[in-house]
Every structure is written in structure tokens, then in C-alpha cells.
């Protein structure tokens, strides 16, 4: 049991570290595209770590399944959301170039 506790503590700490890093990135990076970089990569990794840490605390397969589903859905959503955001920015850029 103690092994699982240690493992989950380790993963959650890692998760928190990555969350922190992505927050710093969000605040410090110069433009939207760079900031999205921080969010899309570090955040999802962090969430994965935290969820993995939580999984080690569970024995019920249903709950483990739900936890993993959360991660998969978040990954998909943030990838799509990031894509849509980037698309919008690019279209805006193109429009500005045409105008200017």
C-alpha cells in the first residue's frame, strides 16, 4: 500500500510542477501562439500526472476508467480548442497582411 501512496504522491507533485510551469509560461510568453504552446503541452502533461496519481489511490475499475476518460476527453478537447484558436489567429494575420 505504501508503495502506491508514494507513487501517487510522486505523480501528483510532478503534476503540480508542470501546472506551475505552464502557468508561468502563460504569464510570461509574449504572444498568444506561444502561450497556447504552454497550455497545450505542459497542462495536459500535468493533468495526466495528477490523474495517474489519483489512479494509484483507487481500486474500483469503474472509477479508474472514469478518471482516464477525463484525461482522454481533455486531451482531445484541448487539442481541438488549440487548433481552432490558432486557426482564428492565422486567419486574422492573413487578413491583416492582405489589408496592409
Amino acid at each position: 500500500m505504501i508503495v502506491f501512496d508514494l507513487l501517487s504522491a510522486l505523480f501528483i507533485c510532478m503534476g503540480v510542477f508542470f501546472f506551475f510551469a505552464s502557468a508561468v509560461g502563460l504569464l510570461r510568453f509574449p504572444d498568444t501562439l506561444c502561450r497556447m504552446h504552454a497550455l497545450a503541452k505542459a497542462d495536459n502533461l500535468a493533468l495526466g500526472c495528477v490523474i495517474l496519481g489519483a489512479v494509484f489511490q483507487q481500486t474500483d475499475p469503474l472509477i479508474i476508467g472514469k478518471l482516464l476518460l477525463i484525461w482522454v476527453v481533455t486531451l482531445l478537447s484541448s487539442a481541438t480548442g488549440g487548433f481552432l484558436l490558432a486557426q482564428r489567429i492565422r486567419r486574422k494575420h492573413l487578413a491583416q497582411q492582405e489589408a496592409g
Binding site: V73, L76, S77, A79, T80, F83, R91
Partner: protein, 311 residues
């Protein structure tokens, strides 16, 4: 001082600060983003006071749907137009002082009377057996106080209808085709939504969940579909939309009429209560989902292609 308490203090403090920050943003777009963050943190605080049902609802409706509605409206009016400069100090300062006084009075009153709790916890739990559900919140909204919920579904219906009355010129700028990644996402997520929504309804009988949370999720699917390449909700026959909007309310009324034989409006006999509650929840979920989708489309200005026709 325990760790939990420190967490509470930090969270409560950041909620207040976030509320201020949200209202001090320069542009509408920024304030919406702040509001959504505020809503998520608020949901977290509701978990801390043992209200998981409400935390789910707040995250789904308070933060998610409201945020989507605000963003949809900004799609029309513009994200980045800065707010005009502040109002005259003759209004601002008295209002601020008055509000601060109100806050101080309320805080003192609450602190002063804190140790005299009163409520209906005991009777609500005592009759849980007869209510046809094991989730006390579901029991309150669909059994003990089902009459309120009937009227509340009416509010939702009427609000959606009112949005429908706004048949102005077709104004909403259509969204550009969103590309293959979004299409793939919708292909994957649509079944997931259709799996999670019924689960949410079903689980509401025993654990946090229920029609409102499920309806909010359904409206999420509706909003996503509106963004997609084939916005089928827009092409639905208006008659279908009308039926869908009124489904929950109608079923509530039909239930009420059916209960004639048992002597009261929504007094389900104990052994049938579970069935009726489930039926009403399914109908309400669909209606809530459709109403919120209609509102989303209305906020974005995508409701009417034909200016002269309403509903």
C-alpha cells in the same frame, strides 16, 4: 488551524479578488474569461461545503453554459471593444459606499447569529425512503418541491420562447468552416456525449447528477454542433423545435393530470415515484438541452435565416 481551513481561506479570498478583477477588465472578452475561471473556482468551493450536486451544476451551467452564451454574444458585438470610461463619481461613490455598508451589515448579522442553525435536514432525510430516489437533492427538486421545478421548467421554456421572438434581420456572421480536426473531434465526441448524458440522468437517482447537469451537457453538444460544418439544429423544422422546447413542461403537466386518480398534483404513489421521476428527468433533460441550445443560437444571432418568421 488545519490544512483544510487554510485552503478554505485562500480559496475564499481568491474568489473575492477574482470577482473584483472580473469587473475591472478593460474589454468584454477578458471579463468573460475571468468570469469562467471564477465560476470554476466557485464550483470548487461548493465541493468544500458538501454540495457536489451544485458544484457539478455550477461548473456545467454557471461557468460552462454562461461562458458559452457570453462568448456567443460577443461574437456579434465584438470581443475587443474596450468598455467606455467609468460613470460619474456622483453615482460611483455613493453606490460603492452603500454596497460596502450592506456587506458589512450582512457579515455582522451572519457572524452574530451563526450558532443558531435551523432547517429541514431531518425531515428531508426521514422521508427519503418514500421519495423514490436516494439523492436528497433530487428528492427535494422532483418530489418534495416538485411544484417549484414545474414552474422553473416553465421559466426556461418562456425564456427560450422570448429569445425566439427576436426575429430580426439575419445578422449573425456565419462561422467559417472549422476544418478537419474539428470534424474529427465531433465524430469522436458526439457518441461520448450521448453516453454521458443518459448516465448523468440515471446516476442522479443515487449520486450527484440529474436532469439539469445532463441538460447542460446536452446543450454543450448542441452548441458544438452549431459551430460545425453541418449545423443541423438550424435546419430542424420549427415545429420540431417547439415540441422539443415544450417536452419537459408538457410531460410535467401530463404527469400532474395523470396523478388526478391519486388525489394530488405531483403526489406520486411511493412505489411508482422512481419511474415518474425518471420519466420527468429524461423529458426535462431533452428540453433543457434544446432550450439552452436555442438560447446559444439566439445569442450568436443564428436563430433566424428568415427575418419575417418567428418560431
Amino acid at each position: 488551524m488545519t490544512t483544510g481551513l487554510i485552503f478554505d481561506i485562500v480559496l475564499a479570498f481568491s474568489l473575492v479578488v477574482l470577482a473584483i478583477i472580473t469587473l475591472r477588465q478593460r474589454t468584454p472578452g477578458e471579463s468573460v474569461v475571468q468570469l469562467m475561471i471564477f465560476g470554476l473556482l466557485l464550483a470548487l468551493s461548493w465541493l468544500r461545503v458538501d454540495a457536489p450536486d451544485l458544484a457539478l451544476t455550477e461548473a456545467a451551467i454557471g461557468s460552462g453554459v454562461t461562458g458559452a452564451l457570453l462568448l456567443a454574444a460577443l461574437h456579434r458585438t465584438g470581443f475587443g471593444t474596450p468598455f467606455p470610461s467609468a460613470v460619474s463619481p456622483w453615482i460611483r461613490y455613493p453606490v460603492t459606499i452603500g454596497c460596502a455598508l450592506l456587506g458589512a451589515v450582512l457579515s455582522l448579522v451572519v457572524m452574530y447569529t451563526w450558532d443558531q442553525p435551523a432547517g429541514l435536514t431531518d425531515p428531508a432525510y426521514a422521508h427519503l425512503e418514500e421519495s423514490g430516489t436516494q439523492n436528497p437533492v433530487t428528492a427535494v427538486i422532483l418530489n418534495y418541491r416538485g411544484y417549484d421545478t414545474l414552474l422553473e421548467i416553465g421559466v426556461l421554456l418562456v425564456a427560450a420562447l422570448s429569445v425566439y421572438t427576436l426575429s430580426g434581420p439575419a445578422s449573425g456572421t456565419p462561422v467559417k468552416p472549422p476544418g478537419p480536426i474539428f470534424r474529427f473531434y465531433m465524430r469522436v465526441m458526439t457518441p461520448v456525449f450521448w453516453l454521458v448524458v443518459p448516465y448523468m440522468v440515471w446516476v442522479g437517482g443515487r449520486a450527484p447528477g440529474g436532469a439539469f447537469q445532463a441538460g447542460a451537457l446536452l446543450s454543450g453538444l448542441g452548441a458544438l454542433t452549431l459551430l460545425g460544418p453541418t449545423p443541423w439544429p438550424l435546419r430542424l423544422k420549427r415545429r420540431v423545435v417547439r415540441w422539443g422546447l415544450s417536452l419537459g413542461f408538457s410531460l410535467f403537466l401530463v404527469t400532474a393530470a395523470w396523478m388526478w386518480q391519486y388525489g394530488n398534483l405531483l403526489a406520486y404513489p411511493t412505489e411508482q415515484a422512481a419511474t415518474w421521476i425518471l420519466l420527468i428527468e429524461i423529458a426535462c433533460t431533452l428540453s433543457i438541452g434544446i432550450s439552452l441550445t436555442v438560447m446559444f443560437a439566439g445569442c450568436a444571432g443564428w436563430l433566424h435565416e428568415d427575418p419575417e418568421r418567428a418560431v
